[in-house]
């Protein structure tokens, strides 16, 4: 019962801009792309001249209909695919894309439950898709983002997230270095921080957490200790342990 309903499509690099010293936003035009829900991901396949192929899965930063999709890729020091996508890929170059994939770590505009998003580092990518879907749908459901970063320079999409018109408020947290004048010192997110900066259990939010494994484990455990029920916590993890 081989099933390969989702096939590979060709994507041509349409736009690119740096997000941080190690990350880049890359937007592809993909003909007959069916559109995607906020939070879905896509497989990217690269082929070397000798036929060797490498496939990696990336969250999609964009959302909705249309033939463009935006990815936001962080360069892994020892990576095989991410350095090529961040440093080498040029406008007009093509890659193969398969997707959209995943039907669980997604937010759809018809959802009515309040939403708390919690991002660790580049884990913000599927979550910014959710804030974008929230804004473009004109949703009146409360949505807010807590974004944990090593340093202020590591922020993806800071301008967009900080815009007064943003429909989802972003709270920033820094683990290694803080901006000057910042009231809290740098440090890992604690249960106290989460209690202060996220929607309380009484609001029964649906919480989406995305980040490295250790971050997701720590944050989800703390939320449960604060009284959130596990069924209202969705997670997406990356990296080994």
């Amino acid at each position: 019962m081989t099933s390969r309903a989702i096939g590979w499509r060709t994507g041509s690099l349409e736009r690119a801009h740096p997000l941080t010293a190690s990350a880049r936003s890359i937007t592809f035009t993909v003909s007959s792309w069916p559109g995607n829900d906020a939070g879905q991901h896509v497989d990217v396949r690269l082929t070397a001249p000798d036929g060797y192929q490498a496939v990696r899965s990336y969250s999609i930063a964009s959302t909705g209909a249309g033939e463009e999709i935006e990815l936001a890729i962080d360069r892994l020091p020892d990576g095989e695919v991410s350095p090529f996508l961040v440093d080498d890929l040029e406008l007009g170059d093509t890659v193969e894309l398969r997707g959209p994939l995943g039907g669980w770590f997604v937010w759809r505009p018809e959802q009515t439950q309040p939403v708390q998003l919690i991002a660790g580092g580049s884990g913000v990518v599927p979550l910014i898709a959710m804030t974008r879907a929230h804004a473009s749908a004109g949703s009146s459901v409360p949505m807010q983002l807590l974004y944990s970063l090593r340093t202020p320079d590591d922020a993806f999409f800071r301008d967009e997230l900080s815009q007064p018109s943003a429909t989802a408020r972003t709270t920033w947290h820094y683990t290694r270095a803080v901006p000057s004048g910042w009231s809290r010192s740098a440090g890992r997110l604690t249960a106290e921080d989460l209690k202060r900066e996220t929607l309380p259990p009484e609001h029964v939010p649906l919480t989406y957490i995305c980040g490295r494994t250790g971050f997701v484990e720590t944050v989800s455990r703390a939320l449960i200790s604060l009284g959130h029920v596990p069924d209202n916590i969705r997670t997406e993890r990356f990296g080994g342990t």
């Binding site: 082929t47 070397a48 095989e80 040029e90 669980w104 939320l223 993890r237």
Partner: protein
């Protein structure tokens, strides 16, 4: 035009199509890691006759166990070769179970489910594993015990497994309802629905 070089060239016959080798052990779960009180832990098999076979933790780890060395393949494209586990064969657990149904729904603490054909759990092809690499299985990786079905993509190897319910048809589990393949054979690249 940028030319992709790539540097892995994992020309390893143990690697299914579209997979790459990893030395780390990535974690993929749809929700928080459940906290399980060992006093309450159980493993069960429930049949269509309404019969439930149950094991407490002490009963379970007293069963004959095996050292298992297998390759594991995640649908997100990483594979890890020669992983070492200790666990109880499903052949042992099914020894006293009578069922006419051909399919199984695995249920986990935390609510995860995944569907499997019974035939693929028997004959030395699946285990309930409780040690990894000589140590007790970390909660992040599915401890205290997880299903281990290495010949299928690893989402089938349900973490925090609690029991198996026999079913007459191959009804989909959690990921299978969310876009993933009903069967999940890595050698046939049965990734998505």
């Amino acid at each position: 035009m940028a030319v992709f070089g790539g540097h892995r060239r994992d020309d390893n016959p143990a690697l299914p199509p579209g997979q790459y080798l990893t030395e780390s052990f990535p974690v993929l779960s749809s929700g928080p890691t459940p906290s399980i009180d060992m006093e309450d832990w159980e493993f069960f098999i429930h049949t269509e006759a309404g019969q439930t076979h149950r094991w407490t933790w002490d009963q379970f780890i007293a069963l004959p166990s095996q050292d298992i060395s297998v390759d594991i393949h995640c649908v997100t494209s990483w594979s890890k070769l020669g992983t070492g586990w200790r666990g109880v064969s499903l052949d042992t657990l099914f020894a006293e179970v009578e069922t006419g149904f051909d399919f199984v729904m695995a249920h986990s603490y935390g609510g995860y489910t995944t569907n499997l054909p019974l035939g693929e759990l028997l004959n030395g092809r699946a285990w309930i594993a409780y040690e990894y690499d000589g140590d007790e299985l970390d909660a992040e990786h599915g401890g205290p015990a997880r299903l281990l079905v290495p010949h299928l993509y690893f989402w089938k190897s349900a973490k925090w497994v609690r029991g198996l319910v026999m079913q007459s048809e191959d009804n989909p589990g959690f990921w299978e309802e969310n876009g993933y393949n009903l069967h999940g054979d890595p050698w046939r690249e049965e990734r998505y629905a």
